[in-house]
Structure formats: structure tokens, C-alpha cells
Amino acid sequence: MSLPAAVDLDATIARLAAVEFKTDEARVRSAKSFRGEIGMDSISAANLLFAVEEEYGIELDAEEVARLDSLAELVAAVGRALGGLA
């Protein structure tokens, strides 16, 4: 399986996050803090991770997951779990 390009990763994760947070992708992209600006809580974090992990067939590190608070951080974590970006 080829690794997804960074731009694909970013677009896909932004879409998954927008669905989970019931908002639009622009807001997901502009948010510096999912918790502070979009109201991410443990349940929505669990659901988002569920969606991301299913999408890419990966399991993210739980400690790292607990600290994720923005699209950039989430994309970076997924990229690392995939072993680097194409």
C-alpha cells in the first residue's frame, strides 16, 4: 500500500474532523485548539480517533492522542503512525 501524500492526509482528516465536530472544514483548519474553539471533549476525541484509525488502518499512541488539539497535530501524528509521508 502506498503512503498517502501529505495533502491527501490533511484533506481527509479535516473532512473526518468536520463530520465529528459537526462544523465545516474551514473552521477545523483555522482552529488553533480543538478543545478551546470547537469544544472537543473526550467523546468527540474518541470518535474522531475511531474514524481516523479506521480510515488508515492504524492505531495511534494513546498518550499522544490525549495531547492532540489541532488539525496540524493530528495530521502529524497520523503521518508518523503511517511511517512517514509520501
Binding site: 471533549d41 473526550s42 467523546i43 468527540s44 476525541a45 474518541a46 494513546a62 492522542v65 490525549a66
Partner: protein
């Protein structure tokens, strides 16, 4: 069987063992009202929403009367629903409940709330699983109020949530780490199960869950205490 994490610890283990012994010792002396009706309402909910995760929800105060009635009736809440897993958090009170339930042969489900990473993983596990579960929705206080997280959990899991109230006419209320009602020997214990609330309808927040549970408690109180002893919703807080 419990999942996952270490055991309850010595203090919780001892407290759970003492409570389990108390539950067993009085279970034979109590009268249980409404057990058959409770079972059939749970079966109806299950049949009405096939494929959805069944979540029984109740106040923390009802756990001990529920366990006494469960031992008395030989599986009060399981009929038609498979074996319920009872959620217990990782507070001392939750660990005591885990120890108690395990000793009574019930399966538990550990929810580790203290550390965010573990909380997210445990929530993921719950949301994915289709196993029926039971959960006290006011376990962290304030007591008698449905917490904000529960409706979100029901909605996310697309679950079928069923309110359950179990009330004893004579009980000792103990406010230790959690609010407990310990039924007395010879107590009359009534069980009431309300109509289900499905996950799709859970986006309205805590209000429908609060109302459903209060109504179920009033119904159980009417049966246990007699109509004259019970008034409006929430009356049980005064007994």
C-alpha cells in the same frame, strides 16, 4: 470478568467484599416488586431497536437496591438483553462498585477517567462495543443529575438507553465517596423501567434522560413506598 487495568486495590476490595456480603445476607429477606415487568420492558426495548447497543442507566443511589433485587430475583436485568456489563470508573467509589459487582458474579467495565489517554481509549472501546451495559449517570455528582457526557455517549454509540430505577422502602443512606442507599433487612424493593431513548434522539442533551429517569424513580417509589408517600418528580431525594 473485568476489563482492563489493575484490580480495585486492597481498600476497595475489602469494602466491595463487605457490601457483597451485606447484599447477599439481606437478599433473601426482601420483597421485590416489578421484576417481571422490568424484564419485559427491557426485552421490548431490545426488540424495538435491534442492532443498537443497549444502555441501562440509573442513579448511583440505586445500585445497591438493584444488586439486592438482582440477587433476590436471580438476574433482574439480563433477560433478553444478554449479560449486562456494569460500568465502573477508576475513583475509589467506582473501584468499590467494581469489587462488589465482581463478587456478585456480574461483569464490569472499567472506565478510567483520571488520565485523558486512558479515558479516550476506554470511551472508544465502549462506543465500538455492542455489548449491553449499565451505567450510573450521576456517579461523579451532582447526585440526581444526568451528566453532560452521557447523552453524548448515547448519541455517539447510536445506543438505545433505558432508564432503570430501583427503590427500597427502607434503606440507610450513606454518603461516603458516593451516595449509597443500603436496603434494610425485610425491605420492599420496587423496580421500574422507563421507555427507551435512542441515540438519534439524544442530541437534545441531558433533559430527556433526566425526565425519563425521574419518572421511572417516581414509579418505583409509588410501588415501594405507596402512593401516599410519593409526590412529584425527585421526591425520593427526601425519603
Amino acid at each position: 470478568m473485568s476489563t482492563p487495568g489493575p484490580g480495585p486495590g486492597p481498600l476497595a476490595t475489602v469494602a466491595g467484599a463487605l457490601l457483597a456480603a451485606r447484599v447477599r445476607s439481606i437478599a433473601g429477606s426482601v420483597e421485590v416488586l416489578g421484576a417481571a415487568g422490568a424484564r419485559s420492558r427491557i426485552e421490548e426495548a431490545r426488540a424495538s431497536f435491534p442492532g443498537r447497543k443497549l444502555v441501562l442507566f440509573y442513579w448511583i443511589e440505586d445500585v445497591l437496591p438493584m444488586m439486592v433485587a438482582d440477587v433476590h430475583a436471580g438476574g433482574l436485568l439480563d433477560a433478553g438483553a444478554g449479560e449486562i456489563r456494569f460500568a465502573c470508573d477508576d475513583s475509589l467509589g467506582g473501584r468499590v462498585a467494581e469489587s462488589l459487582l465482581s463478587r456478585l458474579g456480574r461483569r464490569t467495565l472499567l472506565l478510567r477517567w483520571r488520565r485523558p489517554a486512558e479515558r479516550i481509549r476506554d470511551l472508544q472501546r465502549i462506543l465500538r462495543s455492542k455489548e449491553p451495559m449499565g451505567i450510573a449517570v450521576d456517579g461523579h455528582g451532582p447526585y440526581g443529575r444526568v451528566g453532560d457526557a452521557f447523552p453524548r455517549m448515547v448519541e455517539s454509540a447510536g445506543a438505545c438507553a433505558v432508564p432503570v430505577a430501583v427503590v427500597a422502602d427502607r434503606a440507610t443512606r450513606v454518603r461516603a465517596r458516593a451516595l449509597l442507599a443500603v436496603p434494610r433487612r425485610g425491605a420492599r424493593i420496587a423496580v421500574a423501567v422507563g421507555p427507551p431513548i435512542v441515540g438519534d434522539a439524544a442530541s437534545g442533551g441531558a433533559a430527556p434522560f433526566q425526565s425519563a429517569l425521574e419518572a421511572a424513580r417516581d414509579a418505583a417509589a409509588r410501588d415501594a413506598l405507596g402512593a401516599a408517600a410519593c409526590g412529584a418528580s425527585g421526591s425520593l431525594a427526601r425519603w
